[in-house]
């Protein structure tokens, strides 16, 4: 009897170990302390803020989980944000003005009752001098800790800004204002996940914190007195640290089992040149977290900027021109219902059709495929 019990326990343990990670699961191989931080971070991530504990006065959401919710915390959402910038190529200064004097390119869609009463506004106005307003959908953040653990050198190895190999694909790094290589965000401006998360508390929720200790402005104007009742910082360093742990330690969605059609589609994906930008796998470098160290991540991105043509162009950001976008990671693309940076495509074939610029060659080869091979490629993407 005892032997049978042990067999059952062993079978359950093996089954658990073999189970593919589901969206929202932590990375495998976390220590007990890391797992505890992940779980506590999820609580902060899922918290709902009110003005009394720091929400606003300007905000897009009352919690991280309000947007990153589908199918679980850390996933996508149906919200669409407004980002804006001024682009003046050939001028005396930098070509891109990211509106840093107004707090940056993100313009919040909501205000607290106190700010509405004081200014009579329902959202933050975009200043008239902007040259473009961009729509931005909500990406999932699964596997982002692995993306951060990829060494700069691995990303820069894919860059070919002058297209010396003549394949029509260049790939350019973006850099933050302090010169560090960027990798997060649709324009790859932000170098570090922790900074992305810390900044998002203030930008998206109006939650000040030790990294961003001030509320910023309302389109460049100071907040009216009495509209921000919570004392700063509104979230502690511990809160930031735990949220970062949750996001950093989220596992990427495991690719699904591939049918024969999907396996054929994987070959087609390579043959038409998608892998020129959507690099199938990146390898992480050293990390104090064992689960992030020396791992292969099937990210399907090179984390570089590529010119996608004038039809998709919107705002500049850092070194990114309006038509340059970071190669969108395709890990977890099966969970998306809208595609491209602004969600204009509702199907994967539509998204492929909208590729231009450096993606034009692959798009044209896709167009020329027999319908069965097109379907196979899409079937492959739906396994990621």
């Amino acid at each position: 009897m005892r032997g049978a019990t042990w067999c059952l326990v062993l079978a359950v343990a093996v089954a658990a170990a073999c189970r593919r990670p589901e969206p929202g699961d932590p990375l495998r191989g976390l220590s007990g302390a890391e797992r505890a931080r992940f779980d506590s971070g999820r609580v902060v991530f899922d918290s709902t803020f009110t003005p009394e504990i720091g929400l606003g006065p300007l905000f897009n959401a009352d919690g991280c989980g309000e947007c990153h919710e589908d199918p679980v915390s850390g996933g996508t959402g149906d919200e669409v944000e407004r980002h804006a910038a001024v682009f003046h190529p050939g001028g005396p200064g930098r070509a891109c003005d990211e509106l840093a004097a107004q707090g940056g390119p993100v313009f919040q869609d909501s205000v607290t009752p106190a700010l509405r009463a004081a200014l009579g506004i329902d959202n933050e106005a975009v200043p008239p001098e902007v040259t473009a307003i961009a729509a931005r959908t909500i990406p999932d953040v699964f596997g982002f800790g692995l993306l951060e653990a990829v060494p700069d050198s691995a990303i820069l190895a894919y860059a070919d800004p002058a297209d010396r190999n003549g394949d029509g694909i260049s790939g350019r790094p973006n850099r933050f204002f302090d010169g560090r290589l960027g990798r997060f965000g649709r324009k790859a401006l932000v170098p570090a996940l922790r900074e992305f998360n810390d900044g998002a508390f203030q930008i998206e929720q109006g939650i000040t914190n030790p990294s961003v200790p001030d509320e910023g402005t309302v389109t460049g104007r100071p907040l009216p007195a009495g509209t921000d009742p919570a004392a700063d910082p509104e979230l502690s360093a511990r809160g930031l640290e735990l949220t970062d742990a949750f996001v950093r330690l989220l596992a990427p969605p495991a690719p699904q089992r591939q049918s024969r059609e999907a396996k054929q589609g994987r070959d087609v994906f390579t043959r038409v040149g998608c892998t020129g930008c959507h690099v199938p796998a990146l390898r992480t470098g050293d990390s104090p977290i064992r689960a992030l160290r020396q791992k292969e991540v099937a990210a399907y991105t090179d984390l570089l900027l590529h010119d996608m043509g004038p039809e998709l162009a919107d705002i500049c950001f850092g070194l990114a021109t309006p038509s340059e976008f970071r190669t969108e990671p395709l890990m977890g693309v099966r969970l998306m219902t809208r595609f491209l940076h602004d969600g204009r495509a509702s199907t994967l074939p539509q998204a492929i059709e909208l590729h231009a610029g450096e993606g034009a060659r692959a798009r044209d080869l896709f167009r020329a495929l027999p319908p069965a091979e097109q379907a196979a490629l899409v079937a492959f993407l739906k396994t990621l």
Binding site: A100, P105, S211, L235, R238, G239
Partner: protein, 116 residues
């Protein structure tokens, strides 16, 4: 549901009520030169945390050292260009921020070269 709500309250409440914890004052920034006004001796530097961006407007009194990385070469305010990456030590005064030292460490558009 009740134990879950209790857990959320226990974990989250101390985090939100830590408002008394004050951030240390900023005394050094590293960012990209946005505007240089040699006549008014002012410098604007773009910096930020993630997507939360800020512009630091600094007075640069005459005599403030401006140099290349590690003090390799002496520069003047006139030598700084938009897009230069600078490290500025500064202090807050009633009239605004005042630069103490300025070090030009590279360019934002460093390309494939080493990070400035």
């Amino acid at each position: 549901v009740r134990p879950l709500a209790l857990l959320i309250c226990c974990v989250a409440a101390p985090l939100f009520s830590a408002a008394a914890q004050q951030a240390p004052p900023h005394d050094s920034i590293r960012g990209a030169v946005r505007v240089v006004n040699v006549k008014a001796r002012t410098l604007e530097v773009t910096a930020g945390v993630g997507m939360a961006l800020r512009v630091f407007r600094l007075q640069v009194p005459a005599g403030v050292p401006v140099a290349t990385r590690g003090g390799g070469a002496t520069l003047t305010l006139r030598d700084l260009r938009p897009g230069d990456v600078v490290r500025v030590s500064y202090g807050a005064r009633p009239g605004g921020y005042v630069a103490y030292t300025i070090e030009r460490v590279g360019r934002m558009d460093a390309g494939l070269g080493s990070t400035p």
